[in-house]
């Protein structure tokens, strides 16, 4: 097996989970997210020689994925339209309390504007700093921090209004 092959498989194993989750929250559709990840990794394979720093691999893949997503919009004016609860809600009915919480929180995150959601996902799932997110999204750092603040603030407020969570997060 070539060293390129070894590198590629290591990259897939280490990062496909995070990349898929980022894609899912970006496009809010399991199938589209999976296609996007497939396309991203295929492009990554072709351009693997240009990846010099393994530490930069995740942000490199995210950059490819964002470009791929933008292309998808150019290609067929993909009409996501308004967020449709039915397409996003899990069909599996949550049973445990933790699952119930997850389910509820996912719905709230899905309702959030993508401008807030994206930095949040990059910070929590991707583990990127404010500066790194700013660079990835081509925004200045203050804008990123404001969006992160608003994202959490929205969730916190929603939690406080909800009987389900009252008592847990009423600070």
């Amino acid at each position: 097996m070539s060293t390129k092959q070894v590198r590629y498989e290591a990259l897939v194993k280490a990062l496909h989970t995070d990349i898929y989750r980022y894609a899912y929250w970006l496009v809010q559709d399991k199938q589209v997210a999976e296609d996007l990840v497939q396309e991203t990794f295929l492009r990554a394979w072709r351009a693997l020689d240009s990846l010099k720093d393994e530490k930069a691999a995740k942000s490199w893949l995210i950059t490819i994925l964002r470009r791929e997503n933008a292309r998808r919009f150019e290609r067929k004016r993909f009409e996501m339209g308004e967020y449709e609860e039915s397409s996003i809600t899990d069909t599996v009915s949550p049973s445990t309390e933790q699952e119930l919480e997850n389910h509820w929180l996912r719905a709230r995150i899905n309702e959030m504007p993508v401008d807030y959601r994206e930095p949040l996902v990059l910070q929590v799932i991707g583990g990127f700093s404010g500066e790194e997110i700013a660079e990835l999204l081509d925004l200045n750092k203050n804008t990123v921090m404001t969006r992160l603040f608003r994202a959490r603030n929205q969730l916190k407020e929603a939690l406080e209004k909800t009987p389900l969570k009252r008592g847990t997060h009423n600070g």
């Binding site: 989750r21 394979w45 997850n102 929180l105 997060h169």
Partner: protein, 237 residues
């Protein structure tokens, strides 16, 4: 750091651990509690964001890449094959060009080159072993017939010299063999009725669809050979 700033900083990054934040949390139970709540919220957010990843996605990614690079290799192989084929064709064309295109612009040069090429193959002491019948058999492809022998014929063979298929007759001459070539007429080789160099001289004529060329040493009466040829042959077109 005031209260609002403190809360905002934690909303922006619940894991902020810089000196300012640490100092602000220290000895302030309300803030400490707030920080803990936000950390808890972030754990929940993280849990919620961890949507299930399709099973075997990593296997699919590796498989897809393997297929793609296999396709790529196949394409590369096809390109290599096409390249090799092109080179082979180019060589073929070049070879044909060199082999079958005439390096001589007139029939005299051609005949002299042919004679020099086979110099030493025939000697004037050779046996006249070719019969009229076998000569005429060879003549059929040039649509010509010898009515009688015009001399002692030592050799009659087809030869492809400079890409031209010709009948090469070697007769016993005065001191050296006399060569007679029967060559199909070719547009790229111009006709010259008489030619010579230091050693040989020759004469050519059109007979049927062919050029018939006589080449002999300078002491040879080429004109006589030529006349004999015209008198004893018949050509159909």
């Amino acid at each position: 750091m005031d209260e609002l700033q403190f809360r905002r900083r934690l909303y922006e990054d619940p894991n902020a651990q810089d000196a300012e934040i640490v100092a602000a949390r220290k000895d302030n139970p309300t803030r400490e509690q707030f920080a803990k709540d936000i950390e808890a919220l972030d754990r929940d957010i993280a849990e919620a964001l961890r949507v299930p990843v399709p099973e075997e996605l990593s296997d699919k990614l590796i498989l897809r890449q393997a297929m793609a690079s296999h396709q790529h290799d196949k394409r590369k192989n096809r390109v290599h094959f096409a390249l090799a084929a092109s080179v082979a064709i180019a060589f073929g064309v070049l070879f044909n060009f060199l082999q079958f295109s005439s390096a001589y612009t007139n029939i005299g040069d051609y005949a002299l080159a042919h004679v020099y090429h086979e110099e030493g193959v025939f000697s004037n002491d050779g046996e006249a072993k070719v019969t009229l019948a076998s000569l005429n058999k060879k003549m059929t492809s040039f649509n010509g017939v010898f009515a009688s022998q015009i001399g002692e014929l030592m050799s009659a063979d087809y030869c492809r010299f400079d890409g031209i298929k010709s009948l090469h007759l070697v007769f016993k001459g005065e001191t050296a063999p006399v060569n007679v070539f029967v060559v199909p007429e070719r547009t790229e080789v111009s006709f010259t009725s008489a030619f010579e160099d230091k050693r040989y001289h020759g004469s050519s004529m059109r007979m049927g669809d062919n050029h018939v060329i006589v080449v002999g040493e300078k002491n040879e009466e080429v004109q006589k050979w030529r006349d004999n040829l015209s008198n004893s042959t018949q050509w159909s077109i």
